[in-house]
């Protein structure tokens, strides 16, 4: 397993190099001089010249990339145009908040989506199955930022009005207490709940049709044992994959959720930075999220190997 993990990490290096090259090139998409883009439009000619020299923008592209990577490996992602703080500090301050939101949403999604999928799969074709799958598809179709706004209307406008309260039932924006988490986590988790329910149902239905399940039933085993012991364990693999992939999607979705609820994470930082054309921060946040996504995929692969003894990794 350790050898496999090391091999998998080594295999991720070309992807990570590609990701960093992509992010490095992105600033060249900005019309005009990348030095001005990176220093800010209000920067003095001296500052622009300094940035040009620091980043070696007059050097050939491959030398520039090596310089860029050298700085990245030392934890230097440049300086924010807006705050003049190091980008790495800006990200380090906000990343834990985004991870909190993302992990909480992932947990909620798994805790609701998987049981819902199992319940649907044990009653295929029933009203419950059809109804829950239609709701799940509606959940996938729902824009998360819109759901966020609807939750805000419900908890900060409608319910207080009905109950004649002077303040919202839940804080509509901000960060700090568990109450602040309820709406953003619900909005962010909704799509994942739906997706995990559908995936679990499909995977369980496939397994429940296998011969060994029929054998288990023929042996007179309790239905609960058949479903949870025999079927679920074998249906888990695609579910684990989808949970892993969902982590990346949720990180992307956090950009929208954090914008709706003014959650001070890296998603919000990214959107704010776009408004200020703070390109070093945009590059830094995108890079960190992408690296997080790549590492999660590796973790999923390793979990796969751990969960399924049939898979032989050389």
């Amino acid at each position: 397993m350790t050898r496999y993990l090391i091999r998998r990490l080594l295999l991720a290096i070309p992807t990570l190099i590609g990701v960093s090259f992509f992010v490095f090139l992105s600033v060249r998409l900005v019309p005009g001089d990348p030095a001005i883009a990176l220093a800010g439009e209000l920067a003095t000619p001296e500052i622009v010249a300094q940035v040009r020299e620091d980043l070696g923008l007059d050097d050939p592209l491959h030398i520039q990339y090596i310089t860029y990577m050298g700085r990245m490996l030392q934890g230097d992602m440049g300086q924010s145009i807006r705050s003049r703080l190091p980008v790495v500090d800006e990200i380090a301050l906000r990343l834990p908040r985004t991870l909190l939101l993302t992990f909480a949403s992932l947990l909620v999604a798994a805790a609701i989506g998987i049981p819902l999928g199992i319940a649907s799969s044990t009653r295929p074709g029933s009203m419950f199955d059809t109804g829950s799958m239609i709701v799940a598809l509606l959940g996938i179709s729902m824009p998360i930022f819109w759901l966020g706004l609807m939750l805000m209307i419900l908890f900060a406008v409608l319910i207080p009005d009905w109950l004649s309260l002077t303040s919202p039932v839940l804080p509509p924006t901000g960060y700090g207490t568990w109450q602040h988490m309820i709406m953003p986590v619900t909005a962010l988790a909704a799509n994942s709940i739906a997706l995990q329910a559908r995936m679990t149902r499909a995977s369980m239905l496939e397994v429940l049709g296998q011969d060994y399940i029929r054998t288990a039933r023929a042996k007179g085993q309790y239905e609960r044992t058949v479903v949870y012991y025999h079927a679920l364990r074998n249906a888990l693999l695609p579910i684990v994959t989808i949970i892993g992939l969902q982590f990346g999607t949720l990180l992307g979705g956090a950009v929208l959720t954090e914008t709706v609820f003014s959650w001070p994470g890296i998603g919000r930082l990214l959107v704010d930075s776009i408004g200020y054309r703070d390109y070093p921060v945009i590059q830094g946040t995108v890079f960190v999220i992408a690296v997080g996504f790549v590492l999660t995929n590796i973790l999923v692969d390793v979990l796969y190997a751990y969960l399924d003894p049939r898979i032989q990794y050389r």
């Binding site: 998409l29 900005v30 995108v286």
Partner: protein
């Protein structure tokens, strides 16, 4: 996928014409699937609304009336008025056109780059395949909406750039799908037979490979429309899509969020419209997959 069925169909078919999917049968399967029909009806309704917006919209989508600003639904304005007193229903109808166009254009971009890349990688293999798969791996290393946000952030916010960004993020999906389908089809006997008869690579790709990867492409494109429309609304909501006065649904949501206390209807309807059209394309896509993909047939 469709390619896997082609092996068994070979014995009945001539070697020069590759087995194509049986459309009448597939059509019957779609007709028999009530969820797919619901999806089709929703999609066609939105297409019809988008095409005929000029005729059926009760008001000019751009005409402000500050006396009616943020007014709720009424007999004259069924869905109420927005923050500038413009008719919500008319704006939503024009918005349908923009969202569908955004979806079609970005799916077109994804198809026109992703499909050739997938076919070349799957058919020729070797260095081309290694290069293409590495590129896909890198693109898939970004959560999709993030890639679109990053591209628009650097290209500059506009409707065209939003289309390009959403189109680009669907490229790896098409490439991966078509690559694997091509790898399956190129092993089939009818391709070997065509090659033995002296057919050139270009002929084999156009006449034998492409028709056999059409089914998965059709399914994916329908599902991708849903993804593209949702992504376009997200970019609009972040202020990275159409200019502020354009009645794009995400844009309308962004403008309306300031007034959720006094005029919640401004954010309610554009979100509902987005959800319904995405739901329609998802149902239709699922139905098409059930009908065209033998693995999903009951």
């Amino acid at each position: 996928m469709a390619s896997s069925s082609s092996v068994t169909e070979l014995s009945e078919s001539s070697v020069t014409s590759s087995p194509s999917m049986k459309l009448p049968q597939s059509f019957q399967r779609i007709i028999r699937n009530p969820m797919a029909i619901i999806g089709l009806v929703i999609v066609l309704s939105f297409i019809l609304i988008g095409i005929t917006a000029e005729i059926i919209a009760p008001y000019d989508y751009d005409k402000s009336n500050f006396m009616l600003a943020r007014d709720g639904p009424s007999a004259e304005h069924i869905l109420g008025n927005d923050e500038l007193g413009r008719d919500m229903l008319s704006r939503l109808m024009y918005g349908a056109r923009i969202s569908l166009l955004l979806g079609i254009m970005s799916v077109g971009i994804g198809l026109s780059i992703g499909v050739p890349m997938g076919i070349l990688a799957g058919y020729f293999g070797g260095t081309i395949d290694l290069f293409v798969t590495s590129l896909i791996d890198i693109m898939l290393a970004f959560p999709s909406i993030l890639l679109a946000i990053m591209m628009v952030a650097f290209l500059g916010p506009s409707l065209e750039n939003a289309m390009i960004a959403i189109g680009v993020l669907s490229i790896p999906i098409y490439t991966r799908l078509v690559r694997s389908s091509t790898m399956g089809v190129k092993q089939d006997l009818f391709v070997e037979a065509a090659r033995a008869l002296g057919a050139k690579n270009r002929t084999i790709i156009v006449r034998h490979i492409l028709p056999n990867v059409l089914a998965p492409i059709t399914v994916q494109s329908t599902l991708q429309m849903a993804v593209a429309i949702q992504a376009a609304a997200a970019l609009g909501f972040l202020g990275l899509g159409a200019p502020p006065d354009v009645p794009e649904w995400g844009n309308m949501l962004q403008k309306g969020r300031t007034y959720i206390r006094s005029a919640p209807h401004i954010v309610l309807y554009p979100g509902l419209a987005t959800m319904m059209v995405v739901f329609g394309f998802s149902l239709l896509g699922d139905g098409l997959r059930d009908a065209l993909d033998p693995r999903f047939r009951k």
